[in-house]
């Protein structure tokens, strides 16, 4: 194998891992943002400061999926730290 090919392979390898890793990070970030959004929407309904009951009611129908996801996460909150550390490759 010529040196250039090896080089190429290494570069692709690195960028593939990078892509995977950054995709994972963006996913994590996305989920956190979705959680924050959901939390803000439901706050007024559970007695926390938030936009307003009415805003919540008007948006609630559209955030069904996010709501389910947030509830799911809060149920296994204990795993969260492990999961985060896993993402960041700290073990």
């Amino acid at each position: 194998m010529r040196l250039r090919d090896i080089f190429k392979k290494v570069i692709t390898g690195i960028s593939e891992t990078f892509k995977e890793r950054s995709a994972e990070l963006i996913k994590l970030e996305l989920r956190e943002l979705e959680n924050a959004f959901t939390l803000l929407i439901i706050s007024p309904l559970i007695g926390l400061p938030g936009p307003s009951t009415i805003t919540s009611l008007r948006l609630l129908p559209y955030i069904e999926r996010e709501l389910a996801q947030s509830l799911n996460i809060s149920r296994r909150l204990d795993d969260m730290l492990a999961e985060m550390l896993g993402y960041l490759d700290i073990t």
Binding site: E29, L33, E34, I54, T55, L59, Y62
Partner: protein
């Protein structure tokens, strides 16, 4: 169309001032609608009316509405529940009407309903020269009037957050991630659309409230507590960009004879009057004496209007 809003502590004479100012404007040839947004109405009483549901014509070009607040809350929640039903079709087993009763007591719902009545009334009465809103006592008034502003800042926050979410989704899609059936563009996102709808409503109201054609009039008695409250209201309204240009000092004691028992009361009033002239020096200030008879009914309100003449001029000038 111009909007006038009377604000002040309970019992100082907001309703009397609103009704009387309305009659004065009507007598000068303008068409006037006076609206009471106070859950404890007394506009009808001040005008000595018997029938008082819906829009009541008191004189030619002079109509009044006492907004039924409970009804407004119900109507408002009905609208909201309709919206929810149309999006939650698959949940038709869930009887949302059952929850409406509970919701009507949720914090902030009354303010929302009153603000939405405010909007409906100015939209439906665009043909009037003046709409005068007689407000509830200061606290609730300020909550109602600041609602669109607070609401707007929440909506902006939510929009930013939503944008960030959509950005991440697009990024993931671009690098070939499978996201399932979720909106990734602002234009196709129903949440963004709903946020924009609400934002539009807020901006309409903010536009109206901060317009040159809208002004608040403070009503107060020359006493320490009403004055402090009026000052707070003034600061709050100004900070929102709502202009406060007139001030009615009502129930000023003017005695023909010396009454020793009232000496300290009169001194307090004088002190407060001086203070009022200092604090509200950029406003048109009018004084109304404490009248022997309660100013009720059209004729009495016309007499009351004589005292607030320069306020009528102010309203017509601006």
């Amino acid at each position: 169309m111009k909007i006038i809003i009377t604000v002040g502590k309970g019992g100082v004479g907001k309703t009397t001032t609103a009704a009387s100012l309305g009659i004065a404007l009507r007598d000068r040839g303008y068409s006037v609608l006076v609206v009471s947004l106070d859950p404890a109405h007394n506009l009808g009483d001040v005008l000595n009316l018997k029938s008082r549901s819906g829009k009541v014509k008191v004189l030619d070009n002079y109509e009044i509405i006492e907004v039924d607040v409970d009804e407004a809350v119900r109507k408002y929640l009905d609208e909201v529940s309709l919206m929810i039903k149309s999006t939650f079709k698959h949940l038709s087993v869930l009887n949302i009407d059952k929850y409406i009763d509970i919701l009507s007591n949720a914090p902030g719902v009354e303010e929302h309903a009153l603000m939405s009545e405010f909007k409906r009334i100015i939209e439906e009465n665009d043909d009037k020269d003046f709409i005068i809103f007689d407000m509830p006592p200061t606290g609730l008034s300020l909550r109602i009037l600041s609602l669109p502003f607070i609401h707007k800042s929440w909506l902006m926050e939510l929009k930013n957050l939503r944008k960030a979410i959509l950005d991440r989704r697009r990024m993931l899609k671009n690098i070939g991630e499978e996201l399932g059936d979720v909106p990734i563009d602002e234009s196709s996102d129903p949440v963004m659309r709903e946020l924009d709808n609400m934002l539009k409503e807020c901006e309409f109201l903010i536009g109206k409230l901060t317009s040159r054609d809208t002004m608040c009039i403070l009503v107060l008695a020359p006493e320490t507590l009403p004055l402090l409250e009026a000052e707070r209201a003034f600061r709050k309204l100004s900070s929102l960009g709502i202009s406060v240009r007139g001030c009615v000092v009502n129930k000023v004691l003017k005695l023909r004879e010396h009454v020793p028992e009232l000496k300290s009361k009169i001194e307090e009033q004088e002190r407060c009057l001086n203070e009022i002239k200092k604090v509200f020096k950029d406003m048109t200030i009018v004084e109304v004496p404490f009248l022997e008879q309660e100013p009720r009914g059209v004729d009495a309100l016309r007499r009351y209007a004589n005292y607030i003449d320069s306020l009528v001029d102010l309203v017509l000038r601006s």
